[in-house]
């Protein structure tokens, strides 16, 4: 049996479009063929996790059973009680499979955990989000079918964007009007073609054509070199166009299915500062961390008066957020360094913004300073991606 890495092969798109046509015709006529949709979803999940990756498929099934059980049990509990420790235990249990997958290679000579599968991180974000929102009382009723549809929505299963349960369900339970759906189709096609440009042309250019010789030159030279600088920018471009291209595919295909999966990128390289950058880069991930880690932590610290100063509270929040994000990428020094780097950058950025606010009259602000801000931000971001790439590890430690 064949197995597909989603959105990598042109054939994948042909299959996808062929199977989506009935869904498209249905929605155009104001109907959702939910059974058909479910069958197609399962079929594509089988394609992604079948053949040589069958063990990943089994892991996915076990994982889904486990997470749905956690969500269901917690919601059932939450409908009657609301004790903090139960909530904490539920969240910890929900993230435990992901933790095992992330920690195993770090303590076991790089050998991946046997329970892992493609996309476990993104499913965990969705599951944890549901538990947290049940605690808030925003999600009130457990619905097995909707939960499964949300978790296993196949266009985004492998690498996001990370949707929100309530937003997803609203789309899923409704059928968009014909006018609205035509607009979605149009956008979907545009996104997919933009994705082709990003992933198959630009990411290919940066990642496959330019990057290997630059990497080779940098390794040959060793230590600091111009080639290393070149590597930093080229890798950054590759990272962006590859991931943004993939995300555009996922969003485009979602639109075809009448689901407005949120966008992941919004011109990140024209960010004016680091905070702005995180509102534009891998948005569904950074918003997830903002809403479910940062805000909650800051709120908790304020409520319990753990730290008096609001500034210190924010700093602690940032470090927690970015360190956790670093660990999430993988338990290696460079992902954690990447997290710390961004935490420090955003704290410096905050300090500067406060300073600027205080001295409003005396600091110039015009087109030129704006360009300067974009330039600085861009370079700081690229430097962080160089850390993230793990290339320094190869260069200095092996």
């Amino acid at each position: 049996m064949v197995s597909f890495q989603p959105y990598v092969n042109p054939i994948y798109f042909l299959y996808l479009i062929a199977f989506l046509i009935p869904i498209i015709i249905g929605i155009l006529n104001g109907k959702r063929f939910r059974v058909y949709e479910t069958i197609i979803s399962l079929l594509f999940i089988c394609l992604i996790f079948g053949g040589p990756k069958l063990h990943e498929g089994f892991n996915l099934i076990l994982y889904i059973i486990f997470e749905v059980l956690m969500i269901g049990l917690y919601m059932r509990y939450r409908s009657k009680h609301n004790q903090t420790w139960v909530f904490v235990v539920a969240v910890l249990l929900a993230i435990s499979p992901l933790s095992i997958v992330k920690i195993t290679p770090a303590i076991n000579n790089g050998i991946p955990s046997i329970i892992g599968f493609l996309g476990i991180s993104y499913l965990t974000f969705k599951a944890v989000q549901m538990i947290m929102e049940s605690r808030d009382g925003s999600i009130k009723k457990f619905d097995l079918m909707l939960t499964l549809q949300f978790l296993l929505f196949f266009p985004t299963i492998s690498s996001g964007p990370i949707d929100r349960y309530r937003r997803f369900v609203k789309d899923y339970q409704n059928v968009p009007s014909q006018e609205k759906y035509l607009e979605m189709l149009q956008k979907g096609i545009f996104y997919i073609f933009q994705g082709f440009l990003y992933k198959f042309l630009l990411a290919y250019l940066f990642g496959t054509v330019l990057l290997p010789p630059i990497a080779h030159a940098a390794l040959q030279h060793g230590g600091m070199s111009w080639a290393l600088v070149g590597y930093m920018y080229t890798y950054s471009m590759d990272l962006f166009f590859d991931f943004a291209g993939y995300s555009l595919f996922a969003v485009g295909i979602s639109y075809f299915m009448g689901i407005e999966t949120p966008m992941n990128f919004n011109k990140p390289f024209i960010s004016h500062n680091i905070k702005d950058f995180w509102n534009r880069w891998h948005m569904t991930l950074s918003f997830w961390f903002r809403d479910y880690v940062y805000m909650r932590l800051v709120f908790f610290m304020m409520k319990h008066k753990l730290i008096k100063s609001r500034i210190t509270t924010a700093i602690v929040g940032y470090f927690a957020l970015f360190l956790l994000m670093g660990f999430w990428h993988g338990v290696t020094w460079y992902y954690i360094a990447y997290g710390l780097f961004h935490a420090i950058a955003i704290v410096i950025n905050d300090t500067w913004l406060r300073f600027k606010k205080k001295h409003k009259g005396s600091i110039p602000s015009n087109k030129l300073t704006e360009i300067f801000a974009i330039f600085i931000t861009f370079n700081v971001v690229c430097l962080s991606f160089l850390i993230f790439s793990g290339f320094l590890d190869k260069l200095f430690f092996s």
């Binding site: 155009l28 014909q178 035509l182 189709l185 149009q186 096609i189 073609f193 054509v209 040959q220």
Partner: protein
């Protein structure tokens, strides 16, 4: 606007795009964008895309370029390099370098499939490195790096499952292709390895794929060809206006002396430092166990010879030496090197390949090698002593008589 019209406005361009792609990729025409400039660049680029493609090489060979087949020695572009000499002295031929680090007999066997018609009854130069003949022959990684679906498909369509040589080639391909390779190609290879011909359906599908791959080659392989023309031009400026081998040899010695000042082995300075060869005794005796005289490569090499014989190509073979001072230091066996050269020569001469320049005993000559294993200054002059007359003068028609014995384990292990 009605629904149908709206829908058409949205989907129309996509359908148009798909039709355009299908037409462009399947049209029975030949796109030709290559110019004299592209050919000149491609001839010295040693680029993987050029070697793995066909159209630019075909065009160039038709315009007077001659295949110079080999591996990494062609990257040593000093003033005596064949491409530099041919340009400076305005020879009637220009080398088209085919080969770079990692290309060995089997890769060349497949890349020759793309230029069969162009080498028919023509000449070629082939530098066959002793280092190819390690027991396992070409590494999986190197073979896959230069794998060309275009040439493989071309080979499949002309393969004759009844011949020992094609069965052998298919077996080698299967053994070397990494997992996840193209399934339909692997299946077809298996058929040929088993002595079965491809079915009509197989052939039709591969024909269609070949058209797509050819168009891909025609449209895209001319992009991003590395430009080394300035490097070549710069090197021509170091040469005297009048061609004289003795003068060139003296000059080569002078360049060599200037370029090898940081070590006692006659190794180019940059090579010496880049590869950290000075590591205190790190390399002493390290090559004592290397073996180049029993190898599957001898049979892979036979495939190449077989192709030349089929096309009646007249080929000058060059067997380069290794740097003697270095090989004595690393303990590389002189006996084994001798066996390697003897075996290659025997395989060539016994089948009618008479043009063999065996330099294997000249590794002790100063500045013959640019480094440990690659021809340099004086070595290139020695090459030109053979290449120039071979390519510029009329040669007798070769008379080849191929022997399948060279595909056997017996020969590989002799």
């Amino acid at each position: 606007m009605g629904l149908k019209k709206k829908l058409f406005m949205i989907i129309g361009p996509v359908i148009l795009a798909i039709i355009l792609i299908v037409v462009i990729l399947l049209a029975p025409v030949k796109y030709n964008f290559s110019s004299a400039k592209t050919e000149e660049k491609a001839a010295v680029s040693q680029s993987k895309n050029i070697l793995g493609g066909s159209v630019i090489r075909q065009q160039a060979l038709e315009d007077g370029y001659v295949p110079f087949i080999g591996s990494s020695e062609y990257s040593r572009m000093d003033s005596m390099h064949p491409s530099v000499l041919a340009k400076k002295y305005n020879r009637s031929y220009r080398p088209f370098l085919m080969g770079t680090g990692g290309t060995q007999s089997l890769t060349h066997y497949f890349d020759l499939q793309g230029i069969k018609d162009q080498i028919k009854n023509k000449k070629a130069v082939f530098i066959v490195s002793p280092q190819w003949f390690v027991p396992g022959g070409v590494s999986k990684q190197a073979f896959n790096m230069f794998y060309s679906p275009l040439q493989t498909t071309e080979w499949l369509l002309s393969a004759n499952a009844k011949t020992e040589s094609d069965q052998y080639a298919a077996k080698r391909f299967i053994a070397l292709m990494s997992d996840g390779g193209n399934e339909s190609i692997l299946k077809a290879m298996q058929k040929i390895a088993d002595g079965e011909s491809l079915s009509g359906t197989d052939t039709n599908i591969f024909r269609m794929k070949l058209t797509i791959l050819q168009h891909e080659d025609e449209l895209f392989s001319g992009f991003s060809v590395p430009n080394r023309m300035q490097l070549i031009d710069r090197q021509t400026r170091n040469l005297p206006a009048k061609y004289d081998l003795a003068t060139l040899d003296v000059l080569a010695g002078r360049f060599g002396a200037k370029g090898t000042t940081n070590n006692d082995f006659g190794i180019q300075n940059s090579y010496w430092t880049d590869r950290h060869l000075d590591g205190k005794g790190k390399f002493a005796g390290k090559q004592a166990k290397l073996n180049y005289d029993r190898s599957v490569e001898f049979s892979d090499f036979q495939l190449v010879l077989n192709q030349f014989s089929k096309e009646h190509t007249n080929v000058l073979f060059i067997i380069p030496p290794v740097n003697k001072r270095w090989s004595e230091y690393t303990g590389l066996s002189a006996e084994m090197l001798k066996n390697n050269a003897t075996k290659i020569t025997e395989q060539l001469k016994s089948q009618g390949f008479d043009h063999v320049a065996d330099f294997s005993k000249r590794g002790n000559e100063k500045y013959f090698m640019a480094d440990t294993i690659h021809l340099g200054w004086k070595g290139w002059v020695a090459v030109d002593r053979y290449v120039n007359p071979f390519l510029t003068q009329k040669q007798a028609k070769p008379d080849y008589h191929m022997d399948d014995y060279y595909y056997s384990k017996d020969w590989q292990q002799e």
